[in-house]
Symmetry: C2
Subunit: 307 residues, 2 copies
């Protein structure tokens, strides 16, 4: 971790203080948000800069935690007010969850502004924020070589035009299965993905939670398995860790071929599988590269015909 040098991957998204209740445990004000998980996951592979906002209540120890991961904080702004907060409760399956409360706070006025040093970064990840804000990021960057955008049902329902514009400009779009159906009106996920590919992206990744993901491109379909985790403690942020782990790994690779994308997606699945073993970033704090490599080898062996 703590990669030095120029920021190679810039991530834009949300930072939150989360109250999380699982069937086993309850934690308050833990560090979360899509930006947090994606950046931490990516730091295992590359130099990452975050673009986000926190309030004056943001605990200094969390700022130190970001630094200990080696995340570049030039794009992190602290503004008057409270940090974005989310409370949720997981059902006994550790998968379905109920949102108990959401307070946008300073995130309601968030407008991503990239420091000059980030504008030429080759890898750009637009987390799940409004498509208008995602377009605002596009206005600030100089020809990134690979742009990944995530989205959600809210924007499909309320901001379809700017979202379609975002989709036309990205290299990869990630969304979950129900969102792919909502966006295209097509029930079948392959047909939905093929439709989205005609709108511009080179890759579409459909996330299926604990069942993995599917990559679609002109080269065909790749089924990304989920690593079977022994004991899930907190699934919050798994999709963001998956995307961050994938993208960090890809950014660290010499070439960005379809094969590289497939391999990096497996790394994303591996990093996400570690993340859910503890609350928030706790597992990432102790996670080391040899563990990631070992589980990557294990996961690739699980999809190989030859044992």
């Amino acid at each position: 971790m703590a990669k030095k040098g120029a920021v190679k991957l810039v991530v834009v998204g949300s930072i939150g203080l989360d109250n999380i209740e699982t069937p086993r445990e309850r934690r308050e004000s833990i560090l979360g948000g899509s930006l947090t998980y994606a950046c931490a996951a990516a730091t295992f592979f590359t130099r990452v800069g975050m673009v986000g906002v926190v309030g004056t209540d943001f605990p200094p120890e969390y700022m130190s935690l970001y630094r200990s991961f080696g995340i570049d904080l030039a794009g992190l702004r602290q503004e008057e007010g409270r940090t974005f907060r989310w409370s949720g409760r997981y059902e006994p399956d550790f998968i379905n969850r109920e949102t108990l409360s959401t307070e946008l706070n300073v995130f309601a006025r968030f407008s991503p502004e990239l420091p000059d040093a980030y504008r030429s970064a080759p890898f750009l990840m637009l987390g799940n924020i409004s498509p208008e804000l995602q377009l605002h990021v596009f206005d600030q960057v100089h020809n990134p070589s690979f742009v990944l955008a995530d989205t959600m049902d809210l924007w499909i329902r309320t901001a379809l035009d700017p979202l379609r514009k975002v989709i036309s400009k990205v290299t990869m779009l990630t969304l979950n299965d129900s969102e792919a159906r909502l966006l295209t009106g097509l029930h079948n996920l392959r047909r939905a993905a093929e439709q989205i590919l005609t709108w511009g992206p080179r890759y579409v990744v459909i996330k299926k939670g604990e069942h993995g993901a599917m990559l679609f491109s002109k080269a065909g379909t790749f089924l990304v398995p989920a690593y079977p985790v022994a004991e899930v403690h907190d699934p919050t942020g798994a999709g963001d860790s998956f995307a961050g782990g994938f993208f960090g790994r890809l950014a660290s690779m010499a070439e960005h071929s379809e094969k590289a994308v497939r391999e990096a997606l497996l790394y994303g699945a591996v990093v996400a599988s570690f993340g859910v073993e503890a609350f928030g970033l706790e597992r990432f704090e102790t996670l080391r590269k040899p563990e990631i490599r070992a589980r990557f080898r294990e996961l690739t062996a699980m999809i190989r015909l030859r044992p």
Copy 2:
């Protein structure tokens, strides 16, 4: 199809006349049951004999249909009374379903009796019937080289002792994820499977419906993907077609190594994926080997890192 010669694979299970309602369509008295799906799926690869029971109301055209698949019917008995009947309705997701009615009819008195010609068959599949009846089959066979047994929550709850005896005698146990948890009291599927392996089977296959399956053995874990079907019309029997396709393929192979088992499981997934494209056996009636081979190649490409 219509393989000739000695029966290599014997399958024991249920034959039903099903009323099926999906969000798109409704069909009455179509040919179903675990035995039907498993045998039909296996005929694409090997010579299959069925052990089951039907009533006097069983349509002669369904008997002809079995024959057209080349299934050996020496073990099929027709008894006074009505055939087993099941009615179910699928939810809009084509996955969850509600059982509207079940009439056991002649199946309530079913006792599997193997014709002499079946007793030395090397491959034996014990479909989901009571463990006592599964044990009764063991009493009639001469040292089969590979025995696969399926089970369900009902037997785990009501007949655990004989079920444990069955498990100690089989080569492979198949069950779904919730059943594996119920049987072992372990939430984690890997730990559950590892527990079951200590009871005797060389292989445990945990089925996850439209999300594929997982193979566990001393050699490790293999994640069996589900082929992403363009349009599901009737998912009834998919698990049985998966098992039958797998086992028929394995029976046709020269060796039964772990690699052979993995490959055969992919064939099972492929055959099952065709089966759900139409009601009952309709898709299997037109399905040909080159289609199976092509989809097998497609599915293996979908889990390969190199595109």
